[in-house]
């Protein structure tokens, strides 16, 4: 396996520019998720790394080998990238074994290698001669992964690999794919629009917006220190309030909150789980406008006296009703941004 380095990659379709100078580095053996809403250019980036689409400019390096520098490019079949597209895209006319061994030279298509790969992908051996349509969604996904891993590629590219699976399966399929990738020691680049998927599976998450990578960080780092308010809202959801910082305290509509930000006018970020509802009269008074019940937890929409809307998450054991008057207490430190800018 080898590291992936993307430097200043640009791409436009006609006069619609999709990638505006993307930089990204995936370390050898790392699993990086590219997270973004649809149309942010993440799939195009993946297809440029795979070699299906040419970049207009910039450079893509796999290990020490430049595969794309805007002028010339190496054909996809000579790059040594494993590609796992949406829904797996197994060859419908071939059985599981033939799918997995497809990329190997004739001489290497041995029973031994097949079993090795089935084991690696945590698939039972008796699946080998089934046609793809008889497999479950999760099994198809793992066959696609085994097929991509078979020729020992430099890097594995996964394009929304779990989007076609239903919610329950998605989590377990994601965990098993991560296990397989780690076990194979693979360098992997995963594209997704699902923030839960990105945060739970990846070593590092790259947030993409409008053709730029706006932040690369560990999942925890991204959640705790989002680079700007928009990223904060996209990753984890958040309420944003204007504030004045003076000596480590941010003066907000919710009172004075602890922050590490320097003095000045800022916006502070409040995660839903930081807002604790209090019915005993403590905290800033607010009115409950809407309650969404999720079983283990509830999402409570609130409004302050000045009309500011807030979202809180709490245990369902203390579910308020719309119209209730409650107090809001903020737990923990808050992150602050310069208004409309970066942290």
């Amino acid at each position: 396996m080898s590291a992936v380095t993307i430097k200043g990659v640009t791409k436009a379709f006609g006069d619609h520019s999709v990638l505006n100078g993307v930089d990204l580095h995936v370390p050898d053996g790392g699993l990086t998720a590219v997270l973004g809403s649809s149309g942010c250019g993440k799939t195009t980036l993946l297809r440029i790394v795979a070699g299906f689409v040419r970049a207009d400019g910039g450079r893509v390096t796999l290990g020490d080998r430049v595969v794309e520098d805007g002028r010339t490019a190496i054909a996809p079949e000579r790059r040594g990238v494993g590609y796992v597209p949406q829904e797996g895209a197994l060859f419908p006319h071939l059985d599981v074994a033939a799918n997995i061994l497809f990329g190997l030279p004739r001489g290497e298509r041995s029973e031994h290698r097949l079993h090795e790969l089935l084991d690696l992908a945590e698939l039972p051996h008796d699946l080998a001669h089934r046609p793809p349509h008889e497999l479950s969604g999760g099994q198809q996904q793992r066959v696609a992964l085994a097929r991509a891993l078979a020729p020992r590629p430099r890097v594995i590219l996964l394009d929304e690999p779990f989007s076609s699976l239903d919610a329950g399966l998605r989590v377990s399929a994601g965990r098993s794919v991560r296990r397989v990738l780690k076990h194979a020691g693979a360098t992997a680049l995963l594209v997704t629009h699902d923030q839960g998927e990105a945060l739970s599976l990846a070593d590092e998450v790259a947030v993409m917006r409008a053709g730029h990578v706006v932040q690369v960080d560990t999942p925890a780092g991204l959640y705790e220190r989002p680079v700007d308010a928009e990223t904060a809202r996209f990753v984890g959801g958040a309420s944003v309030l204007p504030a004045q910082v003076l000596g480590g305290l941010a003066r907000t509509a919710l009172g004075d909150l602890e922050t590490a930000a320097p003095d000045g006018t800022v916006e502070v970020l409040l995660r839903p789980e930081q807002l604790v509802l209090d019915v005993t009269g403590n905290g800033t008074p607010a009115v409950v406008t809407e309650v969404s019940f999720y079983g283990a937890h509830v999402i409570v929409h609130l409004e302050l006296a000045d009309g500011t809307a807030l979202t809180a998450r709490g245990p369902s054991s203390r579910t308020p009703a719309p119209g209730d008057r409650v107090g809001i207490v903020v737990e923990g430190r808050v992150v602050a941004f310069a208004p409309g800018g970066t942290r």
Binding site: R54, R78, H93
Partner: protein, 532 residues
């Protein structure tokens, strides 16, 4: 892990020209697929182009003189009244049969479906041979309407059955819950969703009636098609014949236009994605004997009469002499022509199908539509145009195999196109991307991934064309090289000179040749989702 391919600098000319690397701007250049598609469409538009050019070069005075004749008026009246009556009769029979099979507790659903689709296996000219050889009283307008309708009602029945049995019950159930009776619920919420199928079937009947030559010639009912043939036989390639052909083409275009306007821009497909449930069948009750009688009567007229007649003439004919030698030579030349024609047609459909599926856009759509337009032309017009063009442009090709095969390809291209196109849709480009990423070259990907996936569709398309060619009469009659006889032409020369016994074995082989296609079509439209 190590890489499979050795590391080289990216100095190789790269993959830009290999076709699989898409960069969004493809399609601005003229790719080989476009060139091939344009050539194919150019060939299919020869007949239409010939008619247009002939009309322009003829000049208005001569045109008016040739058009404004009592003979043309008489043909116009005949053709139109036959067209209107057969379209109306086939639509009523086709829809009524479909409703009876799918929406009632008739029973033996699969069996009735097979019986009602079966007349498709009897070519119209064989059916009219069956009737005419029994009684000359069908050689009249009403006889022509009867016989032609019996041959063509499955063209309405099959698409309507297919749609009716896949129609979701929910809209009609909602209509019932809103206070409508069962009939009014069907008329208001069911029938509108059937309209595209009904219109499509009626259009097909109309185009077949306009193109029908053999049946109407035997039924002695002159229309434009038979008149063009007569003109050709007496004066070879004449302006009078060309003008008649132009009027016929205008009628075809008018039919296409009417269908387009009636169909409109409305969408009738389901909102939502699940398959839905079929409607509960109607209990026939005391109407059952009447419905059964009607269906049995229809089957007797559409199948019983031609088969009885055929059996009769086979018995009479075999008591004299059975021309084994001529029969086998006609059979083999038919099979050879059908195989070669099917190969050429499928080959021509490939670039159009590729463009339609993989290079969606206005240019691809225009090319595909043009190919379908050419198919609306009657065989007689295609034959006449190819004769004239080949004589004027490449005289050495006149009455040779290539021209005949081209006529087949023009006539039957859409049959191949539909199959090849849908099979290509089952081979999405992402599979080729995966294959390339696994180290497989573009050619190996074509061989190992794309071809295995589209082969069944190509086979089905070739089979449909093969069968259509083996029962084709009109173009074969005009274009086949001297000395080449086929089942259809041998049948024709015998039955046209009233040697009904001698024609019978050929008729039998023609029916046998059409059976596989009929089975294929009726299975596709099978009312399978409805359980009785």
């Amino acid at each position: 892990m190590t890489a499979t391919s050795t590391g080289t600098a990216p100095t190789e000319p790269g993959s830009a020209g290999t076709g699989s690397v898409r960069n969004g701007s493809t399609g601005t250049g003229l790719s080989p697929a476009y060139v091939a598609g344009i050539v194919v469409v150019g060939l299919t538009l020869i007949p239409l182009g010939y008619i247009v050019v002939a009309m322009i070069t003829m000049g208005p005075a001569e045109l008016v003189e040739l058009l404004w004749r009592p003979r043309v008026g008489e043909l116009m009246v005949n053709t139109l009244k036959l067209l209107v009556a057969t379209v109306a009769v086939t639509t009523v029979i086709g829809v009524a049969c479909a409703v009876a099979v799918v929406r009632t507790d008739l029973g033996a659903r699969g069996w009735w479906h097979a019986v009602l689709a079966a007349p498709l296996a009897v070519p119209a000219f064989v059916n009219s041979y069956g009737w005419v050889s029994l009684t000359s009283s069908v050689q009249s307008y009403s006889g022509a309407v009867l016989v032609v309708s019996l041959s063509y009602y499955p063209l309405v029945y099959l698409p309507v059955v297919a749609v009716l049995s896949s129609l979701d019950a929910a809209p009609e159930e909602v209509a019932r819950s809103l206070g409508r009776s069962r009939l009014r619920a069907f008329l208001g919420a069911g029938l509108p969703r059937l309209m595209p199928a009904v219109l499509g079937g009626a259009l097909l009947v109309g185009l077949h009636v306009l193109a029908e030559f053999g049946a109407l010639q035997l039924l002695a009912f002159p229309t434009f098609t038979t008149a063009i043939y007569g003109q050709y036989r007496s004066a070879f390639s004449s302006d009078a014949g060309t003008v008649l052909a132009a009027v016929l083409v205008a009628l075809c275009v008018m039919l296409l236009f009417i269908e387009l306007v009636l169909r409109g821009r409305r969408r009738y497909d389901r909102v939502g994605s699940s398959a839905g449930r079929p409607v509960e069948p109607v209990t026939l009750g005391r109407w059952r004997p009447l419905v059964l009688l009607a269906l049995v009567g229809l089957a007797a007229l559409a199948l019983g009469v031609p088969l009885y007649s055929l059996g009769h003439w086979l018995a009479v004919g075999s008591s004299t002499a059975f021309p084994v030698g001529e029969l086998t030579s006609a059979l083999f030349s038919t099979l050879g022509l059908a195989a070669a024609g099917a190969a050429l047609t499928v080959l021509m459909s490939l670039p159009l199908a590729w463009l339609a599926v993989r290079r969606r856009g206005p240019a691809s759509t225009a090319l595909e539509r043009a190919a379908y337009l050419a198919n609306a032309l009657p065989g007689i017009v295609v034959a006449l145009a190819l004769i004239t063009v080949s004589i004027r442009v490449v005289p050495s090709l006149y009455q040779t195999l290539p021209v005949l095969l081209l006529a087949y390809a023009i006539l039957f291209l859409p049959r191949a196109l539909v199959s090849v196109r849908s099979s290509l849709e089952h081979a999405p480009p992402v599979l080729e991307d995966v294959s390339r990423s696994l180290g497989t070259s573009a050619w190996a990907t074509l061989r190992r991934v794309t071809l295995p996936l589209v082969a069944p569709g190509i086979g089905a398309g070739a089979a449909l064309v093969f069968i259509a060619i083996s029962t084709e009469l009109t173009a074969t009659l005009l274009l086949s090289p001297i000395g080449t006889t086929t089942l259809a032409t041998e049948f024709w020369s015998n039955s046209a000179s009233v040697r009904y016994g001698a024609a019978a074995p050929y008729a039998l082989l023609l029916i046998l040749a059409a059976v596989p296609a009929t089975v294929m079509l009726s299975v596709q439209a099978r009312p399978g989702r409805v359980r009785s």
